[in-house]
C-alpha cells in the first residue's frame, strides 16, 4: 500500500510554511471547540496522522447539508476537502461518474476496512425494502449498511440522517428514519440541523479525523461542544425574554425593535445548537437575528410540531394546544362534579324519605 500523507506532508508538498501550518492548527483547535491547551495535540496529530479516508454518501435528502458545508469559512470547505481529508467517494460530487466509481467505493471499503470515516447525509428509506431511494443499482440502505459496518466511525449529517427529516413527516410514506439502526456496532456521531451550521460540519469531521475518536457526545449522540447549549440560553435576545418584552406579531413595533420572538413560536427554548454562539456564515447572522423565530430544525420531529409560529404545537386538533385541551378537561370535570353533587342531593333526599316511610310502617 502506498504511503498515506499527513496534513503536514501535504503542506510541505505545496510549499507552505511551518508558520501557516501551525496557524491552521490553532484555527482548527478553536473550531473544534477545544481549549487552547489542546493545540500541541492537534499539531502532533496533523503532523503524524495520515489524512483520514472519508466516504460520503447521500440518502433521502435535498443536499442542503452540502450547500451549508461548502459555505464553511474556517476552515474553507475547499481546504478541508483538498488538504485535510482524503475524500475517496462522494455521491454528490460524482453523480455522473458511473460504474468505475461504484467499483472504487467497494475498493475503498475493502482497502481501508475499519479505518475510514463514513459521512452520511439523508434519511434511510426503510419501506418496501428501501426501493424509494436507490443509486448504482443498490438501495441506499444496502450501501449504507455495507459502508457503515466497515467504517471506523459514522457521522450522521443533518436531521434527515439523525431522525428521518422532512420526508419522515406524517404519514411518512417512504418509512424514512435515522441511519443509526444500520450502523451496527460502529459509533455514530449525530450532527442534526436542517442544515447543520457549516463550521459544525467541518469541525466534527476534523475532530474524528485528527483524534481518531468520536468527540464527547450527549444523551442523544450529539457532540457536546456544538450541541451543549440551548439556543434560548445563548440567544442575544434573551434579555428581552427575561424582561417580558415580546414581539406580538411579525410586523409590530416589538418585532422591529428586535424583541424576543417567544410568542411567535420560537423553538429556541427546546433546541440545542450553536446558532446562538457560532452563528452562521462566519458569525454573520442566524434565524432569530434576522427576525424569524427558530423552528427547531435540529430537533427530531420538528416537522410535525406545528404550527411553527405558535408557542405550543397543536397536537390536539380540533381543540388546539395542550393548554386548551387541559382547560376543556378541567371545565368538563367541574360540570361533572356539579352534576354529581345535584344527583347526590336527590339521592339523599329520596333515601331519607324512604327511611321515614319505613319507620312509619314499622310503628
Amino acid at each position: 500500500m502506498d504511503k498515506r500523507e499527513s496534513m503536514w506532508d501535504l503542506y510541505l508538498k505545496k510549499g507552505m510554511s511551518r508558520r501557516t501550518f501551525v496557524k491552521s492548527c490553532v484555527a482548527l483547535t478553536s473550531l473544534m471547540g477545544l481549549s487552547t491547551d489542546q493545540v500541541s495535540k492537534v499539531v502532533e496529530a496533523a503532523e503524524k496522522k495520515p489524512l483520514p479516508v472519508v466516504v460520503w454518501i447521500h440518502g433521502h435528502e435535498c443536499t442542503g447539508c452540502d450547500e451549508s458545508f461548502i459555505r464553511s469559512g474556517a476552515p474553507l470547505a475547499s481546504d478541508l476537502v483538498l488538504s485535510q481529508i482524503a475524500l475517496e467517494y462522494d455521491h454528490l460530487l460524482s453523480a455522473a461518474s458511473g460504474e468505475p466509481f461504484e467499483a472504487h467505493l467497494e475498493e475503498t471499503i475493502q482497502k481501508y476496512k475499519g479505518q475510514y470515516i463514513l459521512c452520511v447525509e439523508g434519511a434511510a428509506c426503510t419501506k418496501d425494502n428501501g426501493v424509494y431511494c436507490m443509486s448504482g443499482g443498490h438501495t441506499f440502505t444496502h450501501t449504507l449498511q455495507h459502508a457503515a459496518q466497515n467504517a471506523a466511525a459514522v457521522i450522521a449529517y443533518g436531521t434527515c440522517a439523525v431522525s428521518g427529516g422532512i420526508q419522515a413527516a406524517k404519514p411518512n410514506p417512504t418509512g424514512s428514519s435515522g441511519i443509526a439502526q444500520f450502523a451496527g456496532s460502529t459509533p455514530v456521531v449525530n450532527v442534526p440541523g436542517c442544515p447543520p451550521i457549516p463550521e459544525v460540519m467541518t469541525g466534527v469531521v476534523m475532530h474524528v479525523a485528527l483524534f481518531g475518536t468520536v468527540p464527547p457526545l450527549d444523551g442523544e449522540g450529539r457532540p457536546k461542544q456544538f450541541y451543549g447549549n440551548r439556543i434560548h440560553d445563548t440567544c442575544y435576545r434573551r434579555p428581552f425574554f427575561d424582561a417580558g418584552m415580546f414581539a406580538e406579531s411579525f410586523d409590530d413595533a416589538g418585532a422591529k425593535a428586535g424583541w424576543c420572538l417567544y410568542k411567535l413560536g420560537c423553538r429556541g427554548p427546546e433546541t440545542y445548537n450553536s446558532c446562538g454562539n457560532l452563528r452562521w456564515f462566519q458569525g454573520m447572522s442566524y434565524p432569530i437575528q434576522s427576525g424569524a423565530p427558530c423552528i427547531g430544525c435540529s430537533n427530531a420531529h420538528f416537522w410535525d410540531d406545528g404550527a411553527m409560529t405558535e408557542r405550543l404545537p397543536k397536537f390536539g386538533q380540533p381543540i388546539g394546544d395542550v393548554d386548551q385541551i387541559g382547560a376543556v378537561m378541567a371545565a368538563a370535570t367541574a360540570v361533572g362534579v356539579a352534576g354529581h353533587a345535584a344527583a347526590s342531593v336527590v339521592q339523599k333526599k329520596k333515601r331519607i324519605a324512604d327511611e321515614k316511610k319505613n319507620e312509619g310502617a314499622g310503628e
Partner: protein
C-alpha cells in the same frame, strides 16, 4: 333527636398536614406561574422592564415554589415513618382492596346508597397514589427542562434522560403541561369529594386536614391500620 355515639380516630400527623397545605399553595402558585410562562401577558401602558410581571419574576417564583414543594416532601416522608395514619398507600397487595374499591366506586356512581365505613377509603387512597405519580412526572419533566441550561452539570446528568425517553424537549413541555392540567382535574374532584363526604357523612373529612382527627359512628374497616380511638364521645 337520635343520640349518635361517635369515636375519635387520630389519623394525620402535623407533618402530613403541613405538607398538605404547602402542596396546595405550591400547586396553585406553580399552575398560575406556569401558564404565565407559556403565554406571557402583554402589559400595556408600562415599560415591560419595570413591571412585576416580567418573565424573570414569574420564572423565579415558579422555580422557588417548585423547590419548596420538593423540599416539603421531607415532612411527608418523616410523617410516613413516625405515624401509622400517614401511610396512605393503597393496599393493592391485599385482596380485599379490590372488592372494597368496587364497593366505594359503586356508591359514588350513585348505584348504592351506602359504602362500608373507612377512615381512609381505598378509592381515595388510590387517587392519592395517582396524584403522587403525577407530581413525580412533573418533578422529572420540570427538572429535565430546568437543568438542561447546563447539560454537563450534575442536574443535567441526573435528568437529561427524561428528554431522551420522551423523544425530545418539546414533548417534555407537552407532558409537563398536560399533567399539570390533570393535577387540576384531580384537585377539583378531590375538593368536591371531601366536601361531599363532610356534608353527607359528617365524619370531619374536611377538618381532618387541620385537626388530624375524624369522627366515626361505626367501626371502620381499616381501623386496624391506625392507633385505636382515644376517647369516646
Amino acid at each position: 333527636m337520635k343520640e349518635e355515639k361517635r369515636k375519635i380516630y387520630y389519623l394525620f400527623s402535623p407533618y402530613l398536614r403541613i405538607f398538605h397545605w404547602i402542596m396546595v399553595l405550591a400547586i396553585i402558585v406553580l399552575f398560575i406561574t406556569g401558564l404565565l410562562v407559556t403565554k406571557p401577558v402583554t402589559v400595556l401602558g408600562i415599560e415591560p422592564t419595570y413591571t412585576s410581571m416580567s418573565m424573570d419574576w414569574v420564572r423565579n417564583i415558579h422555580f422557588i415554589a417548585a423547590f419548596a414543594f420538593c423540599a416539603a416532601f421531607i415532612l411527608r416522608i418523616y410523617g410516613f415513618i413516625v405515624n401509622k395514619g400517614d401511610r396512605l398507600f393503597p393496599r393493592v397487595w391485599e385482596g380485599h382492596f379490590y372488592s372494597e374499591t368496587i364497593d366505594v366506586a359503586l356508591h359514588y356512581m350513585l348505584l348504592k346508597p351506602h359504602h362500608a365505613p373507612f377512615l381512609r377509603n381505598p378509592l381515595a387512597r388510590a387517587s392519592y397514589a395517582g396524584l403522587y405519580a403525577m407530581v413525580l412526572v412533573e418533578i422529572l419533566t420540570g427538572f429535565a427542562m430546568y437543568y438542561m441550561t447546563e447539560p454537563s452539570n450534575i442536574g443535567g446528568i441526573l435528568f437529561s434522560w427524561v428528554n431522551v425517553v420522551l423523544g425530545g424537549e418539546m414533548m417534555t413541555h407537552w407532558v409537563h403541561h398536560i399533567v399539570a392540567w390533570l393535577i387540576i382535574v384531580f384537585a377539583i374532584g378531590h375538593v368536591y369529594m371531601v366536601l361531599r363526604a363532610d356534608i353527607m357523612e359528617a365524619e370531619g373529612e374536611a377538618s381532618s386536614m387541620f385537626s388530624g382527627v375524624k369522627f366515626l359512628e361505626h367501626v371502620p374497616k381499616d381501623a386496624g391500620e391506625v392507633e385505636p380511638p382515644k376517647t369516646e364521645k
